[in-house]
């Protein structure tokens, strides 16, 4: 006997419908108060995966941003140090050219040139041992300063060739942020006593820029006729430095570009997370209004349907 409507049936049906109505209201209200559409994995499993992946990307990008800022600081330090080194080396070359004019110089002026050359060598050594946050920027992954002076006056390079300091700036790109000191400043070829190894004519076979300047100073002081033979070595050292400045500049640009990309990516990711997780406020408010109207209508209808019965009309 389907279709027979009873008071109890009506009550149950009204209750169920009101319950459904108010639970939809509660859901919309939860969305509005939290501002999120996806609150539990079951709300939208696919969106949950997206949200989790995007949040992981956000954290990774924040880390890349820190890495790039650190790389920027390293490369700025290296760049500044190389600039100082170039200025010093150019001055040393001028002094060497001056010292080569043996005819016009007395012993005292040669001694002055030699002193300045040694001072330049010292300042270059200081530049070569530049540190950033306690780490020598020209020494690779070594814990020591890049160059240490031996008892014999030569220098020892402590950096390990091939051990680069890298900063990860994106999922796939790492940038080298240090500079190999041995390429820039050269290394001394020394014997067991720390003395420079010399060939049959008394010339050193391999010198760092520091030992080179000290050698020039010694020759100028001694009144060597042919100091200009060192100009070739000085020029090749200058070229090596210029090459390194170029390489550092390129990498610095790469890091700066990466920083821009990271900044843009952070904004994009924030937008994406928001579009996946966040509630559309306008739409939710409108939905809530509609739901409120239909809830009120349901309440009104229920109150009318439950009230009358034949008893009201029997006298």
């Amino acid at each position: 006997m389907i279709g027979r409507v009873t008071q109890q049936g009506l009550q149950r049906a009204s209750l169920v419908q009101l319950q459904e109505n108010i639970s939809r209201m509660a859901q919309l209200q939860e969305r509005l108060t939290t501002g999120k559409v996806v609150l539990r994995p079951s709300d939208d499993p696919a969106a949950t995966v997206d949200a989790m992946r995007l949040r992981a990307d956000q954290r990774a990008t924040a880390q890349y941003s820190r890495n790039a800022a650190d790389g920027d600081a390293w490369l700025t330090t290296v760049d500044g140090a190389l600039g100082d080194a170039l200025t010093s080396l150019r001055r040393a070359r001028d002094l060497t050219v001056q010292g080569a004019n043996t005819g016009s110089q007395g012993p005292s002026s040669r001694a002055a040139i030699a002193d300045e050359l040694r001072a330049t060598a010292d300042s270059l050594l200081e530049v070569a041992n530049t540190t950033y946050l306690g780490r020598s920027v020209f020494a690779g992954t070594s814990t020591q300063p890049a160059y240490t002076t031996t008892a014999a006056g030569t220098v020892t390079y402590t950096g390990r060739t091939g051990a680069e300091v890298l900063r990860q700036v994106s999922d796939t790109t790492s940038v080298r942020v240090d500079s190999a000191g041995s390429d820039v400043f050269g290394v001394d070829v020394v014997d067991a006593n720390g003395e420079l190894v010399r060939d049959a004519s008394g010339e050193a076979v391999g010198m760092s820029v520091f030992s080179l300047l000290r050698e020039v100073a010694a020759k100028v002081e001694a009144g060597d006729e042919d100091v200009s033979r060192f100009l070739g070595d000085l020029d090749s050292r200058l070229n090596a430095m210029l090459g390194e400045v170029g390489s550092v500049g390129t990498r610095h640009k790469q890091v700066l570009q990466a920083q821009d990309t990271i900044a843009a990516r952070q904004i994009t990711l924030t937008n994406q997370v928001s579009s996946v997780e966040d509630a559309d406020l306008a739409q939710t408010i409108v939905d809530l209004q509609i739901q409120e109207v239909s809830y009120q209508a349901a309440l009104g209808a229920t109150s009318r349907v439950l009230q009358p019965s034949l008893l009201d009309f029997l006298r």
Partner: protein, 471 residues
């Protein structure tokens, strides 16, 4: 035929209409009583018992109440019970999934995914500054909090499993109590029917209990000729007449007991071993119940249920993270020349609970080539994705399963609602209808009274006024 037969006829009518009015009154009184089934008085005309005479033919001499019928529908009741049993089972399963889902706290900043990301990105900071003690201390702090949150999450799943297990045992007690009440009503209904007393209200009470029983444990109801019913669960009787057969939940009462249970021994599980299951208390055999909340809870307690599944995911996560981080961390010796694991798994515990940070001193952290400020190992660890992928997959599975379980439960509840409204449409009291009946029987009562008056006046004419002509 007696001159007074009509008086008696009017009297039977007055009597019958009064009883009918009482039945209407009973219906109206119980308009809101759960489980009440409306009653209707069946009337029957009394056939004439006299022989035809000179003055008239044989005719009926009144009305009588044959019975007070209960307008139930046994098929609608059975349908409601079977829908209730499957809806309750699915609701129990969906409830467990929902409970589990709230403990996962994903997606968001408080979940395990955030902890995993924080842990792995702090390795990048260490890779940037292998000589920086602050970065290393932060890393160890993040590692400890990750380990703690994996263990907490595992304990949350375990706690929910134990709570569900206790709930199942409590519901089994509830089933036994209800079964005893049904058996008791069975006995009273049988006695009432033997002595001819109406048992409609008792049957209604039993109906309510049976629907409750269906929600708890499912089962099939069979009616017997003496008015009693049997409740069969998985083919065996839970209630037979006035007898009941108790059920119980056997099996382990800890999640660890479930995961280490292994396969069934030859002589079967002991009452405190193996996966939780619903059994007959007397024999210890499983009941094979397929419906009701109890079956749903037992489902969720199984090895492939939500809680055990999630606990296994936490274990897998702990194992993966320990394996992949250790493989890299121990690939080179530390600064003091000793090769170390970063994580350790305590023996005798679940991986999720036994996971510990083995490196407690920042000097023992291996970041790269020993003796150098080098972060190749740290950088490699920061790029590991195995644990993160595993956790992402587990959350998605949880979301999909929860959604499916909730949808199934909603669909079943909808069907149950239809079955209930069908039953109510048949058995519930309609006030309008009762009002009409009220007027109908009232009018009939008035008319019967009028018949009585008319016959009375007729007899008055005969008795008092006959033979007084011309007096």
């Amino acid at each position: 035929m007696s001159s007074f037969a009509a008086l008696n006829g009017a009297y039977t009518s007055l009597n019958a209409q009064r009883i009918a009015l009482e039945a209407v009154g009973q219906n109206i009184s119980n308009v809101n009583t759960p489980g009440y089934t409306r009653q209707r008085v069946s009337l029957e005309a009394i056939t004439g018992g006299t022989q035809p005479t000179m003055t008239g033919t044989a005719r009926g001499i009144g009305v009588r109440v044959t019975s007070i019928e209960r307008l139930g529908d046994v098929f609608a009741e059975n349908k409601l019970r079977s829908q209730t049993s499957s809806a309750s089972r699915l609701e129990a399963v969906a409830g467990s999934w929902r409970l589990l889902e709230t403990s996962v706290k994903e997606p968001g900043e408080k979940g395990l995914a955030a902890g995993l990301d924080t842990f792995f990105t702090s390795w990048q900071d260490v890779a940037n500054r292998p000589d920086d003690t602050a970065a290393k201390s932060v890393l160890l702090g993040n590692a400890s909090s990750l380990v703690a949150s994996i263990a907490d999450s595992y304990r949350a799943a375990e706690g929910q499993w134990v709570a569900t297990r206790e709930q199942a045992a409590a519901i089994a007690d509830d089933v036994n109590t209800t079964a005893v009440a049904v058996a008791d009503l069975n006995a009273r209904i049988r006695d009432a029917q033997v002595s001819g007393v109406p048992a409609n209200e008792l049957i209604d009470q039993r109906g309510v209990l049976l629907t409750g029983l269906a929600a708890l444990v499912g089962g099939e109801v069979r009616t017997r000729t003496d008015g009693t019913i049997d409740v069969m669960v998985g083919g065996n009787a839970l209630v037979r007449g006035d007898q009941t057969y108790a059920v119980a939940v056997h099996g382990t009462s800890s999640l660890a007991g479930l995961t280490t249970a292994g396969s069934v021994p030859d002589d079967g599980w002991g009452s405190h071993e193996g996966p939780p299951r619903l059994v007959w208390a007397a024999s210890g055999d499983t009941t094979g119940a397929t419906g009701g909340r109890l079956a749903g809870l037992v489902d969720t307690l199984a090895t492939d249920g939500p809680f055990a599944g999630m606990a296994a995911s936490y274990d897998a996560l702990a194992t993966t993270i320990a394996t992949e981080v250790n493989a890299l961390h121990s690939s080179l010796p530390g600064h003091d020349g000793v090769t170390r694991d970063f994580f350790s798994l305590a023996p005798g515990l679940n991986p999720a609970l036994g996971l510990q940070v083995a490196v407690t001193d920042i000097a023992h952290l291996t970041t790269g080539v020993p003796g150098e400020v080098e972060g190749s190992i740290a950088s490699g660890i920061s790029k590991l994705t195995g644990a993160r992928d595993l956790w992402g997959g587990a959350v998605v599975d949880l979301g999909v399963s929860t959604r499916a379980a909730v949808r199934r439960a909603e669909a079943a509840e909808h069907t149950r609602g239809i079955a209930e409204s069908q039953l109510l449409s048949h058995t519930a009291v309609d006030l309008d209808e009762e009002s009409v009946n009220l007027v109908m029987y009232q009018r009939a009562y008035e008319a019967a009274a009028r018949v009585l008056t008319t016959v009375d006046e007729m007899l008055d004419t005969l008795i008092n006024r006959t033979g007084v002509v011309g007096r």
